[in-house]
């Protein structure tokens, strides 16, 4: 049984008095492509930076592949990281970036790196500063993958890319996953980016975990129920209502359950990932607002 890709216990990170992450407890298994989704400012980048050792926790613990990566070269060798906006040394050429990778990583696979760069059509003498956003993302991905990591951590890798570059990036990434069996944790504030490729999901809202689990299981266990308006929402014990809306004579519920829906009043329609994630995000946001002190809620 291999160590989880990412395991946190009560993880928190504060900047002064502001807590970017609060009480995060996750256990993400290895061997998946994990989507880390949440609105801007939810703490996705903070979580990834903690995972790769750029930050140290203010509270709780974090372990990546069973190790703590802060300032630990051996642990860092097992993790490939792609920071937001794919930073690169603008005055160094593509070839010099690969050289850097070879010098700074003991497990560097030069054959793979050089072949990949040729396949991507790079002019290796071109300075990184004159590459397009999509090319820089591909270069950064090459640097991250060529050190043969067991886990790839990608911070919003396709956020600023045009649709073609975005598709090509994901194609490359999935090819790498298929070929080398790397685990991936990829953050985005758009669910559409992740739906194609992720089979595991973590939803962060306002620094806390709102939802986490296997995509297939999540989709199978959530249902949309539409039926005549019913303000009293007492459901059977094993079914929990995530979200309810009542309009006119109709009620619409999003329900989580592993058992079949037997009440004939409801018509059950399938949900897609978008619906589920957004519902949990709304729940988390509204829950946070209700918990904020000093608010008088008008009824």
């Amino acid at each position: 049984m291999s160590a989880p890709a990412l395991e946190t216990v009560g993880l928190g990170k504060s900047y002064g008095r502001r807590w970017a992450l609060t009480d995060c407890t996750l256990s993400i298994p290895a061997g998946h492509v994990v989507g880390l989704v949440g609105p801007n400012g939810a703490g996705k980048t903070t979580l990834l930076h903690l995972a790769v050792g750029l930050l140290r926790p203010s509270a709780g613990t974090i372990a990546v592949l069973g190790e703590t990566p802060h300032d630990d070269p051996a642990a860092l060798a097992r993790i490939g990281f792609l920071a937001q906006d794919s930073p690169a040394y603008s005055r160094l050429t593509v070839a010099q970036h690969l050289q850097m990778g070879a010098w700074l990583n003991p497990s560097w696979d030069a054959g793979f790196a050089n072949a990949r760069v040729v396949d991507l059509g790079f002019d290796v003498r071109q300075r990184a500063g004159s590459l397009s956003g999509g090319q820089r993302a591909q270069l950064a991905l090459t640097l991250a993958v060529a050190k043969r990591p067991e886990l790839l951590l990608l911070d919003e890798p396709v956020a600023s890319l045009d649709p073609l570059a975005r598709r090509e990036f994901l194609q490359t990434l999935m090819e790498v996953v298929a070929e080398h069996g790397v685990s991936v944790v990829m953050s985005s504030h758009l669910i559409a980016d992740l739906e194609r490729v992720c089979d595991y999901l973590v939803v962060l809202v306002s620094g806390q975990v709102a939802l986490t689990g296997d995509v297939e299981t999540l989709l199978a266990s959530h249902h949309r129920l539409v039926g005549p308006r019913r303000d009293d929402l007492s459901m059977p014990a094993n079914q929990s209502v995530i979200e309810a809306s009542h309009v006119g004579k109709q009620s619409t519920l999003l329900v989580r359950t592993d058992d079949p829906i037997l009440d004939p009043a409801w018509s059950v329609t399938p949900v897609n990932l978008d619906d589920v994630v957004l519902a949990y995000m709304r729940q988390a946001r509204d829950g946070a607002a209700a918990a904020a002190p000093g608010l008088a809620v008008a009824r």
């Binding site: 492509v33 194609q171 999935m174 090819e175 996953v177 298929a178 739906e195 194609r196 490729v197």
Partner: protein
């Protein structure tokens, strides 16, 4: 070799779409026993989907007895599906056309007709689910 495509907005799970496309190819004679299916790596390099999805589709096809995975060599087609007969297809097209004419004459519009059709289709095939 078959080339897969994906319709993300169809509401049908990705792996189901792949299975369906293999079924269709078998029915249309585009795939025959002995043909090799593309590797998971080739499929995801084109479609940008999770490799596990491809593997799941191939496992389902293997369970149906249509393909067999040979380690190190690839996944090969081993079974067949009844080919659709163009004559019988034409027959059902004609009877459907006459039904549509009478529905239209009764005042039903395209959306209503489609709603009736989809409900009937679902009911018909869900009876087969064991």
């Amino acid at each position: 070799m078959i080339e897969f495509h994906l319709d993300p907005a169809s509401g049908v799970a990705t792996y189901v779409q792949l299975v369906q496309q293999v079924h269709q190819a078998l029915q249309l004679g585009l795939l025959e026993p002995g043909d090799r299916l593309p590797t998971a790596q080739q499929v995801v390099a084109l479609l940008a989907i999770n490799p596990n999805t491809v593997l799941k589709a191939y496992r389902d096809l293997e369970r149906e007895g249509l393909v067999r995975a040979r380690p190190g060599l690839g996944t090969f087609v081993v079974g067949t599906l009844p080919r659709t007969d163009p004559v019988s297809q034409a027959r059902f097209r004609r009877s459907m056309a006459s039904w549509l004419r009478s529905a239209r004459a009764a005042g039903l519009g395209p959306q209503e007709i489609e709603a009736i059709y989809r409900t009937a289709l679902r009911d018909c095939f869900s009876e087969d689910v064991a």
